[in-house]
């Protein structure tokens, strides 16, 4: 496992994650996500415009992986429709489970593709998927 390369990118992302870590003024959707075994705990806020995700942000505590994953997800989905965002969630979760391997599909995940080999750190998989499950939950309520 090239831990160094995955992890150092994630930490970079994490350290930059500040720009997405905040409250939105008037979120349309607020969804909490928990990871009981780690104690990770995030709150996702979404601002919709029709069925487009106009803005998104998060608050909460968690490790570099969950924070970076959340932040990358937010960068990715901003400006997408709900349908597109849900599709991206499926690609991401598929990538983690090694079910989606098609390069072209994976490239749609942009930076988040760095998490492709997180299954080499099985204890950390849950950290990587927390935000994505939370988003799915949030959007399935719409």
């Amino acid at each position: 496992m090239d831990l160094n390369s995955i992890y150092s990118q994630l930490i970079m992302e994490h350290n930059r994650s500040g720009h997405n870590k905040k409250h939105l003024p008037n979120p349309d959707i607020t969804e909490k996500g928990h990871n009981p075994s780690c104690g990770d705990d995030i709150t996702l806020e979404l601002k919709l415009n029709g069925d487009t995700i106009e803005d998104a942000a998060f608050t909460g505590v968690g490790c570099a992986i969950s924070q970076a994953s959340t932040s990358m997800m937010i960068d990715l989905i901003k400006g997408n429709t709900i349908e597109e965002a849900l599709k991206l969630v499926e690609i991401f979760l598929g990538m983690i489970k090694k079910e989606v391997t098609n390069e072209e599909e994976l490239e749609k995940l942009e930076d988040a593709i760095v998490l492709q080999n997180i299954s080499n750190m099985p204890a950390r998989v849950k950290c990587a998927v927390l935000a994505w499950h939370t988003l799915k939950e949030a959007l399935s309520d719409v």
Binding site: H34, P36, S37, C38, M121, P122, A123, R124
Partner: protein, 412 residues
Amino acid sequence: MTRINPEIIKKDFPIFNQDIHGRKLVYLDNGATTQKPLQVIEAMAGYNKIAHGNPHRGAHKLSVEATKAYNSSKETVRKFINAKSTEEIIFTRNTTESLNLIAYSYGREFINEGDEILLAISEHHSNILPWQRLAKERKAILKYMYLNAEGRIPLDEIKNKISEKTKLVSVGHMSNVLGTIHPVEEIIHHAHRVGAVVVVDGAQSAPHMKVDVQEMDADFFVFSGHKMLGPMGIGVLYGKKEILEKMSPFLLGGDMIEYVYEQEATFAPLPYRLEAGTQNVEGAVGIKAAMEYLEKIGLDKIEEHEKELTQYALDRMLSLPYIDIIGPKDLEMRGGLISFTIDGIHPHDIATILDSYGVAIRAGHHCTQPLMRFLDLHATSRISFYLYNTKDDVDQFIEGVKNVRKWFGYGS
């Protein structure tokens, strides 16, 4: 089908490298516990030498390796009995704990006053006592199916005893005294028609024949590692997912929770919810190695081999007029264990004297006192085979029996 060669198999089992009282070991107590091949002993030692850690949630390599070992064992068990998913596989300590878990976590929730719990009279104590306690607690009624003279459960008995009131049937797949293989498919079929849940005690079957829990349609299926070349201290509880999901936890503690507050807690999903505290990873590694060993040889071949030995032993034993066989005298629906008595000699004396000839058998009530009472016996002697037994073992046993008779002053 090529036969298995037990002489070659025996070489894998270090236990046979020793003499017992100066004679070669003839091990015919496989119904009680089985011996381990080097492959199992070394798998466990190997785990302890290079990969041991506390699984789950550990971020370091040893913990990750231990988690992998544990999960991969579950997958091996799943395949071994053809369960749908590893969520349906719960590791316990042994068959006894598996049965207690069901009685506690399923029984206390779903058995109510006046409901009937049905067993066969041939059950092992481990498959009687938990239901006695449950019946008492829930004011339910405990009933038994009785056997015919051949030691089988007649179809009529099944039909008569299973009624609309029956909520749970728990039955041994193969009797550890009679060797009878009970018609679990029939029982399940009739039980399901009235909506009852069926527990199959596979302690004596899973080690010796191919079991497919989906085909059998058992709701629960339980067995022990130590009776199938695996280690002591690990057993299996299979349950259909939709049933396990309805059950409350049994043991409570670390690793089976989600959130814990001072006054209450929420529980993790299956299978973790039913496994509390640090799990026996070494045991899981051992049972996996044991199943792999059995599958490499082939359960169909093992069954065939045991049938052959059983036929051979029955033939030799039936030719001795002072031996009584307790259980079916033919091969139909029976496994590789034979209970017997010898005129005028107590089973314990038989076992002790045979031991002096290196022949290990079991004598006693075999944890089946209600069956003994039903058969009007105090005890029996029992031989039970496995893949490493040979015709020569049977011959030595028969020689031993003749000597036992001589010791007691009988002509042979």
